[in-house]
């Protein structure tokens, strides 16, 4: 060991980096092994099952009294149309649950790591700041994709097994066969994931600016709530094109036949803008952040 040390020059002329693949793998293993991630993913998997059971109960029990007609009506639509469940569950979860999870992972990625000192050991290794941000963003993006995929897969299974039927009754009135509706669900999974990435990118920018994960969670979720409220005020319609949340409703277009693409394209474009802005701010904050 001594011989090696003496032979090496004092000034290192060569810049070395840890292989990026190894860094990404380590980050992914770390994020997915976290107890809170496992709990969140487990709870997420329960949601479609609960929804499916609730729907099948509503359609099979004879409650009587006022409203029974309506319940039977909705339930009749759902039964034998299991593939509508993933669409229903994904759109529902995008309203609050999935953005919250994306925000949580972003909060842990930088602010959480900064508060435990884990960020410091990575910076000292060293991992350069832009690289560290890329590694962290990758971890958040993959675990977000995983969460949405779990939700979709469990919803498909629950739809097929509990509600029965393999088709998807569209909002236009016709029924799509299984493989076509499977394609629609896969598309929706991707679209929802992109929206979660947009929220997570903004959360990552906040995360780079603070050491308190709770600040990230509160400000990002607060932002979503404010956006939703602003989106419901008609006199502020000039503002609506700038709000991320405005486009979320149009994602339900995947359950129309033929599928209109205008709203979906706008939603993707808007999310892309938020992703670019979020990561740019995060990078700017990151390069001056105290490790």
């Amino acid at each position: 060991m001594t011989a090696v040390m003496e032979a090496a020059p004092l000034v290192t002329e060569q810049r070395t980096k840890a292989p990026i693949g190894r860094l990404l793998r380590a980050e992914l293993r770390f994020v997915i092994r976290r107890p809170r991630t496992l709990v969140a993913l487990g709870m997420l998997a329960l949601i479609p099952i609960i929804a499916a059971i609730a729907m099948s109960l509503a359609s099979s029990t004879d409650v009587g009294g006022p409203g029974q007609q309506v319940i039977e009506g909705v339930a009749a639509l759902v039964t034998q149309n299991g593939m509508i469940l993933p669409v229903f569950v994904l759109i529902l979860a995008l309203a609050m649950l999935l953005p919250m999870l994306g925000t949580m992972w972003s909060a842990d990625a930088l602010a959480g790591e900064a508060s435990t000192g884990g960020l410091r050991s990575l910076l000292l290794a060293p991992v350069s700041r832009p690289r560290l941000l890329a590694v962290k963003a990758f971890g958040v993006a993959v675990v977000s994709l995983l969460a949405v995929t779990i939700l979709a897969v469990v919803a498909i299974l629950a739809g097929l097994l509990i509600l029965g039927g393999t088709g998807m009754l569209t909002m236009s009135g016709n029924t799509l066969p299984f493989w076509q509706s499977f394609g629609r669900v896969a598309l929706l999974t991707l679209l929802v994931t992109i929206q979660v990435w947009a929220v997570a990118a903004v959360a990552l920018a906040v995360s780079a600016a603070t050491e308190h994960p709770l600040v990230v969670l509160a400000s990002t979720l607060g932002g979503i709530i404010v956006f939703t409220i602003l989106g419901n005020i008609a006199s502020l319609d000039w503002l609506h094109p700038f709000l991320l949340t405005t486009a979320w409703e149009s994602l339900a277009d995947v359950a129309r036949d033929p599928m209109p693409t205008d709203g979906i394209a706008t939603a993707v474009l808007r999310a892309a803008c938020y992703i670019v802005i979020g990561y740019s701010l995060a990078l700017a904050k990151m390069s001056t952040k105290d490790g």
């Binding site: 004092l10 000034v11 050991s121």
Partner: protein
């Protein structure tokens, strides 16, 4: 600036602990890069301001290659802030920091792979075991090949005595074990420079001895060590060089032995004939005064052999003659208490008074 230059040169001359061969082989590469050959780390006029608080001001720190430099200072004296700027974790408000010849923080990618550091306590995750935490650190180490990681982690755990607890969750570790794991992450691979910020925090006496042994091993292997501490005995036991920080400034730095001698020109003579001895010395114009069990002689104007000769000629019974060693604690107290006046520090390297 001229002053700085001369001080720097004298600083270089004091590097006597370094293996000569090491320097010979290192010098060409260092001078090629236009950096001082014998300094593993150095700061120039370093300043850091947080809001209105000046954490560090005019810090000129020099860490010679091969030295074990102890950074001493009371809490809040700027030790950790200086280390953080040296490691590129924080950008200085003014001045510059160089690590292994690279300007920080820009040169982090070049310098830091060769640097192991434990700063402000270890940053690990409670839900992972000690080994898994280290594996995660190792994955980010540029100089560690993927296939060597398990072996390097095992060796580092062995070295800090954590092998038995390696697979337990970090959550259940005691403060001392956490500190050891932090030390292990700094020792994952052979380094040119190891920076330890308060490494013995929370360690029991056995752990403290082990840290000393680790530092001694590193020193023997030619690694430069920068260790900060507020424990004087710790620094005195392990360091070859000392830098004393007080209120954000370096009030003294240099070789430990030199610093200890610098303020100390006294000779203690044990004799039953105290009065006779003092009279004899004063007749020869050597300042002396009675002390318990003998006399204390001021060596400012004379040498020890002269004193002994004078005493023997006067027929004084001399049992023992020894130099009065003040110890680091006295030195530290003197430096940190008198730093506001700064007048007594002229024998020692003092930078801030000159600039």
């Amino acid at each position: 600036m001229g002053d700085h230059q001369s001080v720097l040169t004298s600083g270089k001359d004091t590097v006597t602990t370094v293996d000569d061969m090491t320097i010979e082989q290192e010098a060409p590469a260092a001078s090629a890069a236009g950096a001082p050959a014998r300094l593993a780390a150095r700061t120039r006029n370093l300043r850091k301001v947080y809001g209105k608080t000046v954490a560090v001001d005019h810090v000129d720190l020099e860490v010679p290659v091969g030295a074990v430099l102890g950074m001493l200072g009371p809490n809040g004296s700027g030790k950790t802030t200086t280390i953080r700027m040296l490691l590129g974790l924080t950008t200085p408000t003014a001045g510059s920091a160089e690590l292994l010849g690279h300007k920080m923080p820009e040169g982090a990618g070049w310098a830091l792979p060769e640097v192991g550091a434990l700063v402000e306590g270890p940053g690990f995750h409670p839900f992972l075991s000690g080994r898994e935490n280290l594996m995660r650190c190792a994955a980010a180490e540029p100089r560690l090949a993927s296939r060597d990681i398990p072996r390097a982690v095992g060796q580092a755990l062995e070295r800090v005595g954590l092998s038995a607890a390696a697979n337990r969750r970090y959550r259940g570790y005691s403060l001392g074990m956490k500190q050891r794991l932090g030390l292990a992450s700094a020792l994952l691979l052979p380094r040119r420079l190891v920076v330890l910020d308060e490494p013995t925090n929370g360690l029991d006496p056995a752990g403290t001895r082990e840290v000393r042994a680790v530092i001694a091993d590193l020193h023997a292997a030619g690694t430069t060590v920068l260790v900060s501490s507020h424990l004087l005995a710790e620094v005195e036991a392990t360091c070859t060089h000392v830098a004393v920080l007080h209120q954000g400034s370096v009030v003294a730095q240099g070789e430990l032995a030199e610093l200890l001698e610098a303020g100390d020109t006294g000779l203690l003579v044990s004799t039953p004939d105290g009065t006779v001895a003092v009279d004899a010395l004063r007749d020869n114009r050597i300042p002396a005064r009675e002390a318990p069990g003998g006399v204390r002689v001021d060596l400012a104007a004379t040498t020890a052999p002269d004193v002994v000769a004078t005493l023997v000629r006067a027929g004084v019974a001399v049992h023992e003659v020894r130099r009065q060693r003040t110890g680091l604690e006295d030195l530290f107290a003197r430096l940190t208490e008198s730093s506001s006046s700064g007048s007594q520090l002229s024998e020692v390297d003092t930078f801030e008074e000159k600039s």
